[in-house]
């Protein structure tokens, strides 16, 4: 049978019909599409920054300290209270009776008349201004976007992975498995978020992006767990799962081949909700001192720096970071809503 041969070839490459259906529904939501566009734009920035195409030398001191914005987007009059920077020329006080073992070496080196490296010219204004060291706020914002986005995304992945795995087991198997996992869940949720964060931070005892991700991931899984457990409990006795059982599908196959695709829209929505909430949490973590390390920059670290700067009238860092964050978070939220609508099984 020619036809069945041809079909057989295609069988292996089954199209993702439901997802494409959701996609076409999403395409009808103009606002959702715009939001998606914004998110994709940010994603491009993140990738470009990660690849080092943009904002590579964000830590380069391009402008003078607190250089104001030059009016492209914001404008501010240059501050008059520039602090005088004068390098003192030192006449070392002579002290008798103490020998400096390095003195001979230093003298010879000094005699070879080393030229002090010329400080490069620094700009008086920058598009979005400069921070206290004179680093370009625009580049910092771009780099911060990369960090915050990655932190949000990876932490969300971690929490969703953890929450859905545990939730799937608890909801699917029920009984003692459910009791134990539920016990862990209720223990975790009974402890207030702040204390849990502080406690986990104390355990990890390290700072940096990976720590932030771990803290957020390890504290953020409970919501996903609750949802996934409920979904699995609901689906576990659905007829299609029973049908799978009656044709001899194993537990793992039923859990991950049959049920998982049917709850994946919940996961996707949870994922994007968590991305948003984790990007916001990163700011709070930074405030608590569990932010990213000094060799990188995130929106949280920028906002924390900007806190006192605002009172000094240096508002541009606060404005840049807040705007960049608000735009992405808004777009992401709108996109999540659109996604939820598009994936809503009720609308089928």
């Amino acid at each position: 049978m020619r036809q069945s041969e041809r079909v057989a070839v295609f069988a292996v490459l089954a199209p993702q019909g439901l997802w494409s259906l959701a996609w076409s529904r999403l395409c009808r939501d103009t606002l959702g599409l715009i939001a998606l566009g914004v998110v994709v734009m940010y994603l491009a920035v993140v990738l470009a920054a990660a690849a080092g195409w943009i904002a590579k030398d964000w830590s380069h001191e391009a402008g003078v300290n607190y250089a104001p914005p030059n009016g492209w987007i914001f404008s501010a009059s240059p501050s008059e209270d520039r602090l005088p920077v004068a390098r003192e020329s030192i006449q070392v006080t002579p002290v008798a009776g103490v020998v400096d073992p390095l003195a001979p070496v230093i003298e010879t080196l000094r005699e070879s008349r080393l030229a002090l490296a010329q400080e490069p010219q620094r700009l008086a204004t920058l598009p979005l201004g400069a921070d206290k060291w004179g680093r370009d706020v625009a580049l910092k914002t771009l780099k911060g976007t990369q960090t915050s986005f990655i932190v949000g995304l990876l932490a969300a992945f971690l929490s969703v992975l953890l929450g859905s795995l545990l939730g799937a087991y608890a909801g699917y198997f029920g009984g003692i498995v459910d009791d134990v996992l539920n016990w862990i869940y209720s223990t975790f949720t009974a402890i207030p978020y702040l204390l849990l964060v502080l406690a986990i931070a104390a355990v990890l005892n390290q700072k940096g992006i990976s720590t932030v991700i771990l803290i957020l991931g390890l504290t953020g899984w409970t919501g996903v767990f609750r949802l996934m457990r409920a979904e699995y409990m609901k689906h576990r006795n659905r007829e299609y799962v029973l049908a799978a059982e009656s044709i001899g599908a194993s537990h793992a196959r039923r859990m991950f081949y049959h049920i998982l695709p049917n709850v994946s829209h919940v996961l996707l929505v949870q994922l994007s909700l968590n991305v948003v909430s984790f990007m916001k949490s990163e700011v709070i973590l930074s405030f608590l001192g569990f932010g990213v390390g000094v060799d990188t920059v995130s929106w949280g670290s920028m906002l924390n720096e900007a806190q006192t700067e605002l009172l000094l009238g240096k508002w541009w860092q606060l404005a840049s970071a807040t705007l960049a964050m608000a735009l992405l978070v808004t777009a992401f939220s709108v996109f999540t809503d659109a996604l939820r609508d598009a994936l809503d099984p009720k609308l089928k």
Binding site: T187, I191, Y193, K280, V334
Partner: protein, 312 residues
Amino acid sequence: MLSYVLRRILQFIPTVIGIMLLVFFLFNWVGGDPAYLLAGKISNPEQIENIRRQLGVDQPYYVQWGIFVRQVFTGDMGVSWATGEKVSYLVWSRLGPSLTILVPMLVLSTGIALGLGLLVAYFRGLATDRWIMVACTVGQSISILVYIIVLQYVFSYELAWFPVQGWAQEGGLLLIPFCILPVMVGVVVSLAPDTRLYRAFFMDEIQRDYVRTARAKGLTEWRVMGVHVMRNVFIPVLTHVMIQLPGLLAGSFLIERFFSIPGIGREVLLAVERSDFPVIKAVTLYVAVATILVNLLTDILYRWIDPRVQLK
């Protein structure tokens, strides 16, 4: 009813044990050594040893665990390492200010969000709905830190409407000027997400058959929404409000810190900075137990608000 409550409380025991294990593990086992902080600027090993002995952190873990269990069961969580204050008293005295901010905040934001949710659900699909939702989405995308900094700056300093921060020990009406701005910040921050959520609750309920029945009975649209739908929406709203209550107690630390409100959240931050473990442990446990009790209360309230729920 009573037997239900008793049985529920019995069921809490494993959770409480879990929390105790976690707390003990975190603070007694892997938590830092507070002796050096307490020893001050100039310390020597004997002094460190002395402090460790005084605090009981030199004991084997099983002994420490025993002490901890006894503390939990007697309700006497010892004294703060930093101030020597009784921890139970400390937590108790910080509860008032926290609640003074939290309760009005929760009532206001829930009330306003319910109203807005009803409004946008009523106008669903229309421009009013769209714009309020967009405003909410934008509103919730800004960090609470920015809200606090900017609102404090604008309202206390530029406009000078409220005191910058502070607290009236005497309590009562004197507190009102100090409360307004923190409560306002809290409401502003939680209003946007709450409205979005409550709108979703309303939209869920509106699709139900009983709404069609109510309309078929010839009730006005406001009665359908404001009585029939609203009463059903109360159920998920109640869950939402109750579930976030204990977390707020410790979670409003940012507001408490910026407005110098002597509440629990600020105390926790202080204790963490000082490695004051008895305080952190006690707050964690108390709040955890409060969470559990609030859950129980929620279930009891459910029976009152949702006749379908039976307490068994």
